[in-house]
Every structure is written in structure tokens, then in C-alpha cells.
Amino acid sequence: MTDEHSILELLPGYALGCLDPEDERRVKSHLSGCATCRRELAGFERVTDLLSASVPAAEPPAGLEDRIAANLHSGGSRRRVSWSPVLYAAAAVFILALLAGNLLQWTGVIRRGPTDASRLLTVMLKGTNGAPDAYGTVVLDPADLAGVLAVTGLRRLDAEHQYQLWLIRGAERRSAGVFSVDPGGYGSLLLTVPADFRDFRAIGISIEPAGGSKAPTGEKVMGGTI
């Protein structure tokens, strides 16, 4: 089978976007030098576009138009980044740490009077490739075995799923609770920290069935080192 013939066989899949990476690379590399294949591809891209156009329309939810308009007025972006990404990330984490620390105070989790900030342990969390915009902080009070999580930038999940926080120690994953985020991607969680938490080395957040799992089953979206 000539190379052009084998490429022609792959063009329908390329138009759909369903080729495996190595096939996609082959086709992409070939197309730039083959007008015949580009013409063939155009025909299959037309089919793909017609498939999209043939899907029945559905009435959008009430208020969606206004939410879009509001988003445009706020700059068309959930984050208006006028600083450098590093500076923005540092500011976001700092603000979250403040919020997390204050949340411990106001929820009465700290039972032994005013918090000595120096005893609090702060763990910064960053999003994985699955949640590149996510940032978070866990603030732990070793004296009260309590903690709080504050996150931003996570995608809202459907009703069947929640985020779950895990304390990680070697191969062990111990659940510290489940939470959801609001439409703005913000979420928080009050933690009960195990007495041996200092033996744990990392924290992770994954997507799990609503109510949580006994062990991580879904995609990891955030992590940090204790």
C-alpha cells in the first residue's frame, strides 16, 4: 500500500478528529505536500460539519443569554489577567491562605482560643493538566487536628460527581472529605485531620462519584506536597 493510499484511508478519521496520535502525525505531515489528499479531506470535513449541523437544536436555559452578556461586560474572561501569570498565581494563593485561615477562626474549629498563625501548616495546591486553572490552599491546625481547604478554578461537576480530597502517604490514600464548587469554580471544605497526619507527605484532589469513594477512582485534578 502506497503512502498516499494509506493516508487516504485515514482522512475520514482525521476529519472527525479520532485518529490515534501517530496516525494523526503521519496525515498532518503528508497533507502539506499533497493537494489530492487535501481535496479529499475537504470532502470529509464537510461531512463532519454536516453531522454537527444535523444534531437537533435544544432550547437553551433561561438566563444563559444574560450570563453570557455579563461575562462579556466583565472582560469576557473568568480571570482578567493583567499581571504576569506568576504574580497572579501568588496573589491568588495568598488570598486563599488568608481566607482559609479566617475560615478556621469563624467556624470555631479552633477551640483553644486565638490562633497562633505560626503553628498553622499551609499546603499549596496546583491544578494538573486536567485543571490547569485551579489553585488551592489547605491550612491545617495540628493542635486541633482540624483544617480547611479553599480552592478556585475548578470546573463545576454534574450532580453525579464531586471532588474528593486525599491525604497521601506512600501508596495509602486517606479521604479527607468531598466537596463541590460553585458556578464560579470556588469551593471549600472543613477537614478533620487524623492524628498521624504528619506522616502524610502529599495532598491530592480527584473527581469521584457523588459522596466519595473508598479509594481514588477518577482523574486527579490538583495536588500539593506537605
Binding site: E9, L10, P12, G13, A15, L16, G17, C18, L19, D20, D23, G43, F44, R46, V47, T48, D49, L50, L51, S52, A53, S54, V55, P56, A57, A58, E59, P60, P61, L64, E65, R67, I68, A69, N71, L72, H73, G76, S77, G130, A131, R155, R156, L157, D158, A159, H161, I207, G218, E219
Partner: protein, 189 residues
Amino acid sequence: MSSSDESDAAVVVRIARGDRDAVRVLYHRYAGLVFGLATRVLGDSALAEDVAQDVFVNVWKKAGTYRADRATVSTWLMRIARNRAIDVVRRVRPSERRATSAWDDLESASDPAPGPSDDAARDQCREEVRAAVTALPPDQRRALSLAFFKGLTHREISSLLGEPLGTVKTRIRDAMRKLRGEISEECAP
């Protein structure tokens, strides 16, 4: 010129110049199709709503990159919608990627929220495409559905269905060739 007379391309030009009202015009014309496609891909109206919002915000941000010689506005929009919905279903709803019922009801499907016009030719074309998809052999339609709606690759479909990779490639290729042959040349996306 009333908004109903204005071409889609002219609306996008206005958007590129910063006219937020022009986004509403495009929304009124295409939100139903965008939301419908996102719902079929994701199987969840809340996520589909997020995707629809992302699509129109994306249009606002990237209107200046639209090229009329490459695609119609509707095609451009629906490509953004499909790509975005597949991104989301890959990350957020991996179990939904195994659902293959997305085309089962196409034969009797009606449009509660009609598309941008009551153009008889466009409606005729949509019916033609639906009939062609419905006429595909079930195994071809299923493989095509997994690729088109769920963004699965050949290898992922092969693994999911427990069928040889070559068989899956052939089914998708044959399905697309059949559709290309069945749908009349006059049909435009």
C-alpha cells in the same frame, strides 16, 4: 438593516469591532444548535450550558480570527462547540464517553428550538443527513457515534468495543464514505 437581514459574517465583523449587541444576534441565531450539540455530547444540561457560554465568550474573544473563506459562521461556531464539548467530556465525564445513544432518536427528532432560519433548503439538508446516518449499518453508526460525539480515538473505540483496531478504522472510514456519497452536493453545513 434589521438584524434578521444581516449576514452572519457581517455580525461577526461587528463582534470583532467590539459590538456586544452583535453577540446577542449570533446567540439568537445559533444558541439552540450549540446547546443541542453540547447536550448530545455531554449528556448533561448543566455542563452543556457551561460549554454554550464558553462558545459565545470564545466568539467574542476570537471574532477577529474568523475567516469567511475557510468556513461559514455556523460551521465555525459548531466546530468550536464540538471541540469544547469533547474537551469537557474527556475531562469531566469519562463514563459518558461510553454512551452511544446519541443518534438513536435522530429519525424522529424534531427541533424545539429551530435553527437560524426557516430556510426550507437547510431543513431539507438536515433531514437528508439524519436519514443517511439512520441508514448506516448499526456497527458503523455506533463507531461513528463514539468518534463524533465522544471524541474517542480509533484505539479507544477498539478497546471499548472489544473489536480489532483495523475493524474499527474500516467501519468509521466506510461510514464517512457512505455519508459523503449519500448526502447531495447541494447540502451545505
